[in-house]
Symmetry: C2
Subunit: 359 residues, 2 copies
Amino acid sequence: MNTSPVDTLPRYSIDSLSGFSTRLLEHAGVDTDKAVTMTARMIDGDLLGHRTHGLAFLGTYLERLAGGHISGSGQIEVIHDEPGAAAWRAHRLPGAWAMEQATSLALERIRTQAVFTITIANCSHIGCLQSYLLPFTEQGLLVLLMATNPGVASVAAPGGTRGVITTNPIAMGIPTRGNPILIDQSTSVGSNALFESYAARGERLPGPWVLDADGEPTDDASVLNGTPAGTIQPLGQTDFGYKGFGFGLMCEALALALPGYGRRSQPNRFGQGVFLQVIDPKRFSGSDDFLDEVDYLVSAVHSDPGAPGKKTRLPGERALATRASQLQHGVSLHPEVLSRLEPWSERANVPLPRPLQED
Amino acid sequence: MNTSPVDTLPRYSIDSLSGFSTRLLEHAGVDTDKAVTMTARMIDGDLLGHRTHGLAFLGTYLERLAGGHISGSGQIEVIHDEPGAAAWRAHRLPGAWAMEQATSLALERIRTQAVFTITIANCSHIGCLQSYLLPFTEQGLLVLLMATNPGVASVAAPGGTRGVITTNPIAMGIPTRGNPILIDQSTSVGSNALFESYAARGERLPGPWVLDADGEPTDDASVLNGTPAGTIQPLGQTDFGYKGFGFGLMCEALALALPGYGRRSQPNRFGQGVFLQVIDPKRFSGSDDFLDEVDYLVSAVHSDPGAPGKKTRLPGERALATRASQLQHGVSLHPEVLSRLEPWSERANVPLPRPLQED
């Protein structure tokens, strides 16, 4: 999927992609407000350059809707609510929509207190974590976001051979006076999607990033599909994988156990748990002190001349540049993304979007 | 310092070590309550097996007190306080004591809300993060703790050659129905103290864990003392160091920028910033659901037969076993720890503790 250079790919207007995706989702039974939000977050994924978590997911979502694994309509169940915290059960409603509701509530509640925390149990896939950070950083707020999937067990404990957690991403948005720092990273060496793509192409990994079923490091991603299955190495691999696993456990505690929707009921892979926390620096040392510190750090990183042939970069810098360029020139999509959607397009009688004409 | 097997080391009663350390600190001008707390947390470090962060630090603290870098007396300045959050400036008061005050406040405030968050700016070294987690996990509470030192810059951004952050530890205590999970890990391949000890012994590292001043990986820890200095690799090293650095930035944002005490004023290495957050699962999905999930995860890890010759283990397991054994049989200390304190012992006229007699 990522083999063609972006510059040679066809580009599309956001409007044409939005209309197309929204109509396909509506045709699959999704309420309009939910379809609009799901679409917006997928396009955000593409805008930020996370192409595995952009419109490439639309086909999967349509399949899951058809299979009854995503609910296109319904309401969130509130299981706890107090000024500083809430816990929701989302009953497989669209993750992007549940996140939009949570974001609205968080932005409202944070006006009157320093920290607001919300957990969501059993929403559908929320997609690209990074795409949820900007509404907070744009208001000068710190945001911490974790999400995980209790139906996938692809990462073993150090020394182990059986997957007990998944690749458990952790994201944080840190406001600065310039571009925000947008961290979004799995706690393993890579996401499940990355290894699936290597296995599908039959390509060797660049390094011994997975373990076979006996716990031996290998560069063969197909071991993940074996019986018994191999596992993905936690961040830190052989020497320091216990730390990557430690960060994975933090995500597991906050995004699965705290919402109360985890692995013990052996759920399928279609639901997720989410932990979202917003922090207002004004109510700690104050915004000026906070921003002075963060800006100092940003400038320290940028003034590093870099190792020969290298350049230092903060998390989110490349994503924000990709987004700015695509907002101006249109969203580039690999032809496979839309061609995979052709059957859905025909069934719903919604024509495929047409690429922008080159100037 | 860690060359002798623990079993052959002399053991001491906690009372004798406590009395000795407290009296030396008092002699150095530390208020009794503060001396007692500093001592207790150092002994906790030894009990949990983190010997670089145990009584091995007492000599350093005494030197810093003599140099005026730790204040033995004084009050914390409250710069913000609301039910769910507080921000303190500690004016170089003992880190362990500031943490004890913060812990008391957190345990009180969490009774009436889901989350309590506190930042501490400019306390002295707090020592072993893991030693602060048990008071929370014993009450069924989740706890997140980060601490960092704005006067040390030993880790570069990916692609960079200049230290911009330090090894920034992140700790979390996760309650279960059995032993708690006690995560405490630096976001680099190891702590500053680890590399200092290799450099002091002139020993090569087990792997290319540091970068020389040109950003080239090497196993020679002495590059950290060069001019210009090399840097410690973030967790994930060459391929995935951007993730370790990302976790380091999270610590930097929460434990330095949020308390408002960071690098921009180019402070010396004697102060720290702290972020402490307590979360009550009862006010999310409820304690039973939370514990059911966590216990399921613990049992999944323990039922893994393990790779050949290996055994799976959860964070904190070894530390808690070491603690239990030392609570029963006495605290083992390398002879150097006490011999380094001899001059202080003589000056204060406080005799060195005597080892327990073997049965």
